[in-house]
Symmetry: C2
Subunit: 227 residues, 2 copies
């Protein structure tokens, strides 16, 4: 299997569905597949239950995280940002060794109400936390600064807009850029910000993103770096 997408909410479904549509072998991963599969109701965001999505994507299996990680070449983190470190820290090192981890999550803590707090913020980032938790893996932060529908179909938004890439491993960033181009991103719209510490900066776009979402009343927008 080429890709394992961790997380079964909107972002995970959108990424896995697009990879499937593009003809890639893709599985998903979750903590408790039986529980996810047996859920009959919408989630808190109004998403239909897993079973409805799964019926439309019969090729996408849903094992537990560790099994998904061991079976795949590239892992995609679309878990809740506050759970991501514990999820990836629990994986056997052998299942992530040398693999590219595409980190799309943001460490938003909704426990204090809206707007959510970003934690860590400023002097650390989720991207760095994941890289430290998996020193033998190659973490690339990307796609975390926009709505899920734009991640996999950037042309739905007219004009130029930007996707950022942060990571310590140049080859992993090249691999991720190729995936982004498959999703429809023009190469000129992919901005390599630098090493994984630059994930601090892209994660810190979220507070403004959330306020713009509120001001505009929709998520049909994206950041662009005009040069």
């Amino acid at each position: 299997v080429k890709y394992a997408v961790f997380g079964t909410a909107t972002v995970g479904r959108t990424i896995a569905g697009r990879l499937d549509e593009l003809g890639h072998e893709v599985i998903m991963g979750t903590r408790d597949p039986e529980e996810t599969v047996s859920r009959a109701t919408q989630d808190a965001y109004g998403n239909p239950p897993w079973s409805a999505w799964s019926a439309e994507h019969p090729r996408v299996a849903l094992p537990m995280f560790a099994e998904a990680a061991g079976a795949a070449e590239v892992l995609v983190n679309a878990t809740s940002g506050t759970a991501s470190v514990s999820v990836f820290s629990a994986l056997p090192a052998s299942s992530v060794d040398g693999k590219t981890i595409v980190d799309i999550a943001n460490p938003l803590d909704f426990s204090g109400g809206m707007p959510p707090a970003l934690d860590p913020v400023g002097t650390d980032s989720l991207g760095e936390q994941l890289q430290r938790a998996m020193p033998s893996a190659r973490v690339v932060k990307t796609l975390n600064t926009m709505g899920a529908h734009i991640m996999v179909a950037p042309a739905t938004l007219t004009g130029d807009h930007t996707v950022f890439v942060s990571g310590d491993d140049p080859a992993a960033k090249v691999e991720v850029a190729a995936l982004l181009e498959e999703f429809g991103w023009p190469s000129g719209s992919i901005v390599d910000v630098g090493d994984i510490t630059t994930a601090r900066g892209t994660e810190m776009l979220l507070p403004l993103w959330l306020r713009l979402w509120g001001a505009f009343g929709n998520a049909d927008f994206n950041f662009h770096i005009q040069r």
Copy 2:
């Protein structure tokens, strides 16, 4: 006098120079005018001494902060972000009462080396600190997300790009938007993000801005919100 610009470094000089060029009455404000005027050397950023700039802008006087505030209708904060709260807190309430404060500063702390830390970050902002320090004034955060040369001449950068506005007072935001249009900002490029708490989000763009500055090797870029 219509405008008092606080701070004599690049941003303050650029804003005051542009206001002067536009035919507005403008003064600047600083902590110790004699010291600033008598400086003979470049500052840490390679800017020429005040006297050289002043010789080219003979109409722009440089009194102390309190005198400048008392004389002006609108105050512009271009002081160092870590000094701004103490500067404005020291002003007599009567000199800021009901006035619009255009806050361009970012609370970047360079004391720990590069990249600088943002403080406050996440759950507070410099814009909010200033509004709390001057409850009778009307603080509007804007222009803090780009290089000084773009603030006053947005057309130097081709294509669409964005200037954000945050503040609690709608009338003050209308007044600031009119000033931005005088600087050359098309009205469609001015995005009202919301109340002053949204300054958290625009100040949090700075860490990414600084890394992009490093990656590009120049400051000839700006954020744009593509819709």
